[in-house]
Amino acid sequence: MSLNNQGRPTAPESGSGDGGRATFTGNKGLQIEEPLLFEIGRAEVTGVDIEEVADFVPRLGGAKRKTGIGLPGLSEPETIRHYVRLSQKNYAIDTGLYPLGSCTMKHNPRINEKMARLPGFSDIHPLQPRSTVPGAVELIGELARWLMEITGTAAVAMSPKAGAHGELCGMMAIRAALEARGESRSSVLVPESAHGTNPATAALLGYKVVDIPSRDDGTVAPEAVAELMSEDVAGIMLTNPNTCGLFERDVKEIAAIVHEHGGYFYADGANLNAIMGKVRPGDLGVDAMHINLHKTFSTPHGGGGPGAGPVVLSERLAAFAPVPFLRRDGEGWDWIETARAASDEELPFGRMTAFHGQMGMYVRALSWMYGHGADGIRQAAEDAVLNANYVRAGLSDVMSLPFGDRPCMHEALFDDAFLKDTGITTLDFAKAMIDEGYHPMTMYFPLVVHGALLIEPTESESKASVDLFVATLRDLAMSVRNGDTGRFAGAPRLAPRRRLDETRAARKPVLKWSPPDQLAEVST
C-alpha cells in the first residue's frame, strides 16, 4: 500500500468530559456559548416584515408546497446577537498575523468594501442592457489591463470564480489549443511539491499526471524536465516561486524545453506576491497563469470564499479564452458573451460560469491596485520577501530548514527535524501557537518535506509584529528543547474550543441538525 502516514492522531486525549464548565451559563466572560439557530429559532418568528398577500389564485401548476420546510427564524435583535457571538469565536486577519504559507493573508483594505458596495457596481444585473452598464465593462477592462501589465501577458480570461477554477480554465485553454492543432496529448508534468489542485485539475481533463522530482535544494532541474518531456506531454504545471518558497531559477530553460516539444507552460500564480513588480511571468515563458485575487490582491477570505481566479494568457493561448471575454475596441473594450459573436480568430473553448465572473472581487482588487500603484506593488513584494527572510533568520538556529539556511522568497519552509525524538509533532507545535494568540502556519504542506511548517508573513506585518511572532516561536522551540511537552500535549487550552475529534466527525458524519426525536432515525 502507499502508506501516506502524514495522517496523524486526530482524536484528542479526553479531558474532564463535562464540557469544561465553570459558570452557570457555560460562558467565559466575553466568550458566549451560542446554541444552534435550530435550538433557539422558531418557524413562526421572523426578523423581516413582509406584506401578507390577500387571497389570490396561485398559478403554480399544482406544484404548491405541501410539506413544511424546517427553517426557524429569529427577530432582528436575536439575529444580530447570534452572529456577533459566533464571530467572536473566529481568528481573523483583523485580529492578528496569519503566517499561512501559500495563502498570502495580507490586510484587506476597508475602502475596497465601500467601493464594492457602490450601487453602480453592486446593484447592476449581468443581463441588463449593455448600454446601461458601460462603467462595468470599463472597470473589468481596467483590471484586465493592470493584470496584463503586472504579468507581462497578452490577454486575460476574467471569468473563473476561484484559483482552482482558474487552473481549470488555463488547462482547458491548453487542451483546446492542442486540439486546434489536431493533437491530443496524454499527460501533464507536475512537481511533487505542487498544490493538490494542480494534479486534480489535470486529472479532471483526462490527463495522466507525471510527477517531477525536486532536486536536493527543493527546486526543479531542467534535466528532470527534459527527461520526462515529449510530444505526448501537453505541458507542465509549475508554481514560481515554488511551494517551498524558492524561486525556480531555471524557469526559462524549463519553459524552453517544454515549448521545444510543442507543449505549454501553465503557472500556478498563488505566489505572485513575491515577484510582482520585480519580474513578469510572461517574460519567463508562461503561457497561462491564474491569479488569486483573494491572495495577491487582498480580496477578503470571508471564512473560505468567495475567491476569484482570472487567468492571464500568452499570445499562443489568447485566442482560446472562454466566453465572456474582452475585445479591444479603440480606447475601450467590447464584451463578447457568446461564441457566435466571436470573430474567426477568436476560438473560445466554451464557458466557465454563467454570467460574467466575480465583479464584486474585481472592484476590490482594482481598489487595492489603485491604492498601491506601481510603486506600492513593487514595495509590497520587497517587504513580503524581507519579512519572510527576517523570520527565517530569526528562527534558523532553533528550527530546522530542510534546504539549508539560504534566502527564501515570500515564505520560509521549515520541517520537523527539530522535533525529532521529542514526542512533539508539527501538529502539537502548531496547536500551542493558538494558546499564544496566533493562527498556526501552513502545516504538512508541501508534501516533499516531512512535517512541513510553511510561514508567510506578507508585507502587511510591522517589524514589531514580526519580532513578537519570532520571539514566540523561539520560546516554543526552546520549550521543545527543554522537554516541556506539557505545553504542547493537549494544546490548545485557551481557545474557544480544545482540540476537536476529527476522527469521530469522519467516522460518524453528522452534517446537519436533526430534531432530537429524529436522531435515532438518522443513519450514518
Binding site: E34, L36, A43, T46, P58, L60, K64, T67, I69, L71, T79, I80, Y83, S87, A92, I93, Y98, D123, I124, H125, P126, L127, T132, P134, W146, G163, A164, T197, A200, V209, K252, V279, G302, G303, G304, G305, T338, R351, A354, F355, H356, V363, S367, Y370, G373, I377, Q379, A380, P407, E459, S460, K463, S465, P496, R497, R499, A505, A506, L511, K512
Partner: protein, 448 residues
C-alpha cells in the same frame, strides 16, 4: 504608504539581521535579463479620496437596478436584502477570517456553515448539503460529474428548460473531460417530451424548475422514469425564493438538487460573487464535491464543528479527488444563512407568496397589451412573453424610456429565429404597483 507598515529604518535593520546588503540580494535567483529595474508602467499609488473619485465615476456610468422599474431575472434576481445581513458579514471576524482549517479558532465560521448546510438541506428536501459551490452553473456541472461517478455512465440528458449559460458550462466541462451531453432544444413553451428521451445510457437527467422560461416541471414523473432506467435526477433552480412556495425537489424524487442561492442575502453584483447550493442523498455523500462541515466534540466534551470528509478533496486526494474545487463561497453562504435566519419559514413563505402575486399581476398587465402573448400557464416569479418584432429591440426601446423590462432570449441564444421575439420577465417583492403599471404603459407605447 498607508498599507505598508515597514519604515526605511526597519528595512535597514532587518536586512542587517538577515546578513545581506540590499533587498535585491534576496531576489538574486531572478534571471537578470528579465528583472525589472524600476516600477511597472502603471500609475503610482493613489490616496483614498482620489481612488474613490475614480471608481465612483465608473460606477456612476451604470444604471442601478433600484433606480428604475426593474424586471430583469434569467438566473439572478433583485430582492431586498435587510441591512442586518450586510452589516454582519462585514464584521472583521467573518470578513477577514481564513478557511476554518484550525477549528479551535474558527467555530464562528464552522457553526454558521453547519446551520447553512441544514437550511439548504431542509429547503431542498434533501438529506445532506455541502458548504456551497461557486454558483449554480458550476454546481450543475459538478452534479453531472458526480452522477457519472455514481452510475459509472458518461452521458447526461439536459432539458431544454435549463438556463442556456448553465448548459454551456456543463457542455464545456463535459467535452473537455471526455463525457457526453444530450441537450434538448430550448423549450419556452414547456412542451418538450423529456420522458421519451430517458434511457439506460444516461447517468442523469438534468431539469431546471422553474425553468429558464419560468415553467414549472413535473419532477415526480421525471424522477420515476429516470430511476426506472438507473439514472439520477438532477434538479436545478436559479431562484431560491421559489422553494418557499413550490414543493421541494427532494420530496419529489430528486437525487441531487443544485441551484443558485444569490436571491437570498446577496446583491446582483453584475454576476458574482454568487453562491451555489448543492444537496444530495445520504447514500451518495462520499461522491459529493466541495467542503462539508460536521459536528463533533472537543477534548473537554464540548460540542464543536469541523470540516470533515476531507479525503474527497483535492488537497488530500490530488488527482483522485471528487473535484478540483478548493474554496466554497464562504461569505456569500453566510449572507444567505443570515438572511434565511431573519426570514424564517414564515417570512420565506410570505416572501414567496408576494413574489408570485406580483408576477401574476404583472403577467396579466402585460398580456393585456395588444400584440403581447404570455407563454406560461404556470410560473413562480418569472415568465416568458412573445412580442411582435425583435425582442432585443423592444428591450432597448423600453430602456430608453427608463424601464428595464427583462432579458431578450436571443441575448443568450442568438441566431435562433424562433426565439427572437421572446422576453423573459421577472417580478419580485421589489416590483411595486407603480413599476408594473409603468412597464405596461411603456410597452404599449413601444409596440404601437
Amino acid at each position: 504608504m498607508r498599507f505598508l507598515p515597514l519604515t526605511d529604518d526597519d528595512r535597514r535593520t532587518m536586512l542587517q539581521s538577515i546578513g545581506v546588503g540590499a533587498i535585491d540580494d534576496l531576489f538574486a535567483d531572478l534571471p537578470s535579463a528579465e528583472r525589472l529595474d524600476g516600477p511597472l508602467d502603471l500609475p503610482n499609488h493613489m490616496g483614498e479620496a482620489t481612488l474613490e473619485r475614480r471608481l465612483a465615476r465608473m460606477a456612476g456610468r451604470n444604471v442601478p437596478a433600484g433606480s428604475v422599474p426593474f424586471f430583469v431575472g434569467a438566473g439572478a434576481y433583485r430582492h431586498h436584502v435587510p441591512a442586518t445581513v450586510d452589516h454582519l458579514i462585514q464584521r472583521s471576524e467573518f470578513l477577514t477570517a481564513y478557511t476554518p482549517y484550525q477549528p479551535e479558532i474558527s467555530q464562528g465560521t464552522l457553526q454558521a456553515l453547519f446551520e447553512f448546510q441544514t437550511q439548504v438541506a431542509n429547503l431542498t428536501g434533501m438529506e445532506v448539503a455541502n458548504a456551497s459551490m461557486y454558483d449554480g452553473s458550476t454546481g450543475t456541472a459538478e452534479a453531472v460529474l458526480m452522477a457519472h461517478r455514481v452510475t459509472r455512465r458518461d452521458t447526461a440528458l439536459l432539458s431544454g428548460g435549463l438556463h442556456p449559460q448553465y448548459r454551456e458550462v456543463v457542455e464545456t466541462v463535459s467535452r473537455l473531460s471526455d463525457h457526453k451531453t444530450i441537450a434538448l432544444p430550448a423549450d419556452p413553451g414547456g412542451t418538450e417530451d423529456l420522458l421519451e428521451r430517458i434511457d439506460d445510457t444516461l447517468s442523469c437527467v438534468v431539469v431546471q424548475s422553474p425553468s429558464f422560461f419560468g415553467q414549472i416541471a413535473d419532477i415526480a414523473a421525471i424522477a420515476e422514469k429516470a430511476h426506472a432506467h438507473g439514472a439520477l435526477l438532477v434538479v436545478v433552480f436559479t431562484e431560491a425564493v421559489s422553494l418557499g412556495l413550490i414543493e421541494a425537489p427532494g420530496a419529489l424524487g430528486a437525487d441531487i438538487v443544485v441551484g443558485e442561492g444569490q436571491s437570498i442575502g446577496n446583491a446582483l453584483n453584475f454576476g458574482g460573487p454568487y453562491v451555489g447550493l448543492f444537496a444530495t442523498r445520504q447514500k451518495y455523500l462520499r461522491q459529493m464535491p466541495g467542503r462539508i462541515c460536521g459536528e463533533t466534540v472537543d477534548a473537554d466534551g464540548a460540542r464543536g464543528f469541523v470540516l470533515t470528509m476531507s479525503t474527497r478533496e483535492q488537497h488530500i486526494r490530488r488527482e483522485k479527488a471528487t473535484s478540483n474545487i478548493c474554496t466554497n463561497s464562504g461569505l456569500c453562504s453566510l449572507a444567505f444563512s443570515i438572511h434565511m435566519t431573519l426570514l424564517g419559514e414564515a417570512g420565506l413563505t410570505r416572501l414567496a407568496r408576494l413574489n408570485h402575486a406580483r408576477a401574476c399581476h404583472l403577467a396579466d398587465l402585460l398580456a393585456a397589451v395588444p400584440g403581447v402573448e404570455l407563454l406560461n400557464e404556470s410560473f413562480f416569479n418569472e415568465f416568458t412573453i412573445r412580442v411582435p418584432g425583435e425582442a432585443n429591440s423592444v428591450i432597448e426601446r423600453l430602456a430608453e424610456r427608463g424601464i428595464l423590462g427583462g432579458v431578450p432570449v436571443s441575448r443568450l441564444l442568438p441566431g435562433d429565429e424562433a426565439l427572437a421575439d421572446l422576453i423573459v420577465v421577472a417580478a419580485t417583492e421589489t416590483s411595486s404597483e407603480e413599476d408594473c403599471a409603468a412597464y405596461a404603459a411603456a410597452l404599449k407605447e413601444v409596440l404601437a
